[in-house]
Symmetry: C2
DNA sequence: CTGTTAGCGCCTTCAA
DNA sequence: TTGAAGGCGCTAACAG
């Protein structure tokens, strides 16, 4: 049915070994012979048998990219960039980079890791915030260590570093610093009663951004009522909508709201609108990440810009081994404060 | 280094065949034996060697999902839904479903198909509009036929049917009907000068939505100035922004704009705002797809809702063979007109 | 219900 | 520069 290496060899009148050599390119073969082999490959429409090849060579050309929620452009942009970088990579065999969506489920994260381990993946890129649950972190750490032990390159992108030396490289977002600058901006505008719509409690991303917020408040001597002004939710617009209503219930005099990310911020804006409050006239709103639509929102969203595409592409090159790991294996990726129309001075009640 | 089946067999004091049988589950094994084997697997931290397994069984547990642009939630939602459905599927071996982002490039589409063929993928789901270029369509058709011939299940999701019988199932979006209903809605509101921001010329999705638009105009006797009121672009907000400026240049008296999709529509709204025009006071705007943020836009976007999640999940089940193919192999997925605040009657000049 | 026996298709020494 | 030979780790008959 399907042509095999042996078929190609027979047609080109060479040994299977020779065919293998021209296909893998990493071995001297006479030009005429190569020509003949390639023609045979073409005529037979031969496609290498990946499993057989991987088995014999004890390596595979699969690279897995784990994301928490592929419907969220935050992950879509990073993962797409990583794939593009891997697709462009020059190498003997072309790598097959694939995106795996965990949906935020720790079990599926582990399942995917196991599946990739089963395929003897060449590399694994894990993106986005990690779950803080110690048991799960330990399980993931152990899995990654095992993968690394088997020769799989591990790259963390937008995720905090892991202890141990099994990780090839980590690109960590400066969520703390970004969160701090954002809140400093609001304080600078004169805001004193600032609500915070945080992400899921158990995510590192959530904690770090919140820590930055807290630090800014503390530095300004405003940390007293902090806890009452923080509501946790998920990373979607619905969560932002509901959380703002809750915040308003707790403190009607709120003049600003910082959201876990841009999507949540847009939900927050919608809730404020529905309550008859104007943004930023009555309440200022800020997001995080700067997704493409944030600049077009009405009003345009003040946020912290994370270079998602660049980070994803770099993660891809790192996974390929096409770029040296940063010193110490860890690079911090900083965010840039984007001040737009959704934040302004507080209303002078 | 890594434990093998034989290691497990030795430790459990059974033959390798028995271990294989308990691992694959599809064969009777005594409870006590199974117990012993599973314990050994656990103690050795054994993970099946995928390539070896695939080679021996001549099948793999890989399922590929091709998308045009994973940074676009249109694809993210469908792909995520498909993965979720596949992850939930009950089967002997757990399937590894992976997303491959072509970035809209025909070469990468073919490359990914070849790579998946090399891995002897169990199934391939191809999502989104196809390129109209005959040469490329033929190449894709041939690739898919080959894959199908090798036993790979082929599912098309949000893509028009392909000639031949190599495709297992097709879920086609009714872009024509949706486009038509949308424009009929605008005509019903009293609009006569309607601009159209189309997607890339060479995509089926673009053509079908535009055909629906044209049909509605023709039925109302308004098709005369059509061509002058159509501008093509890509599927991003930038394109919508620029296209609207061009349309306005051509016809300042435009009272409505239909966009290729929601993202483009939002770009269009931004351009109108920047020109000092209000939506829908001066110009009505409509999109297509109904992404999550469209309901929150200001004003909320009138659009045609495509059930992306449901379609993606169904494609996943189809790829798994967990659901029978629709009669004739083709199911049409209809869109629902969502009338919201971005469309209203034309200004009474 | 379990063990034995052949390969699956390719890569990779080792020779020539 | 090329060929021959062995084995990668697993599955699938075939016996028993």
């Amino acid at each position: 049915m399907t042509a095999t290496l042996a078929d190609v060899a027979a047609r080109a009148q060479v040994s299977p070994a020779t065919v293998s050599r021209v296909l893998n390119g990493n071995y001297p073969v006479a030009a005429a012979t190569r020509e003949r082999v390639l023609r045979a490959v073409d005529e037979l429409d031969y496609v290498l048998n990946g499993p057989a090849s991987s088995l014999a060579a004890a390596t595979s050309d699969l690279i897995g990219i784990l994301v928490n929620d592929i419907a969220d452009p935050f992950f879509g942009i990073m993962a797409g960039a990583a794939q593009a970088a891997i697709g462009e990579g020059r190498g003997a065999r072309e790598k097959l980079s694939v995106i795996c969506n965990t949906g935020g489920s720790p079990e599926r994260e582990l399942t995917y890791l196991t599946l990739l381990q089963r395929q003897r993946a060449a590399a694994v890129i894990v993106t986005g915030g990690a779950l803080e649950d110690p048991a799960h972190q330990a399980a993931v750490g152990a899995k990654l260590a095992r993968l690394a032990g088997a020769g799989t390159r591990i790259v963390l992108c937008g995720r905090p570093p892991l202890p141990g030396d099994s990780v090839t490289a980590t690109l960590a977002f400066d969520n703390r610093g970004g969160g701090r600058r954002l809140t400093e901006h609001l304080i600078g505008l004169g805001h004193r009663r600032i609500g915070y719509v945080a992400g899921p409690t158990e995510r590192t991303t959530t904690r770090h951004r919140l820590e930055g917020h807290r630090a800014a408040l503390a530095a300004a001597g405003l940390a007293n009522a902090l806890d009452a002004r923080v509501v946790h939710g998920s990373y979607d617009r619905r969560s932002g909508y509901d959380a703002v209503l809750e915040l308003l219930r707790r403190e009607p005099e709120l003049t600003a709201v910082v959201a876990a990310n841009d999507t949540v911020a847009l939900g927050a804006c919608a809730a404020l609108r529905d309550r008859g409050l104007s943004v930023p006239g009555d309440v200022s709103v800020a997001g995080f990440v700067d997704l493409p639509f944030s600049a077009d929102a009405v009003p345009a969203l003040t946020t912290v810009r994370l270079p998602l595409y660049e980070a994803g592409a770099r993660a891809g090159r790192l996974a390929l081994g096409a770029e040296p790991a940063p010193p110490g294996g860890i690079a911090t990726v900083h965010g840039e404060l984007m001040v737009r129309a959704s934040t302004a001075g507080p209303r002078t009640a």
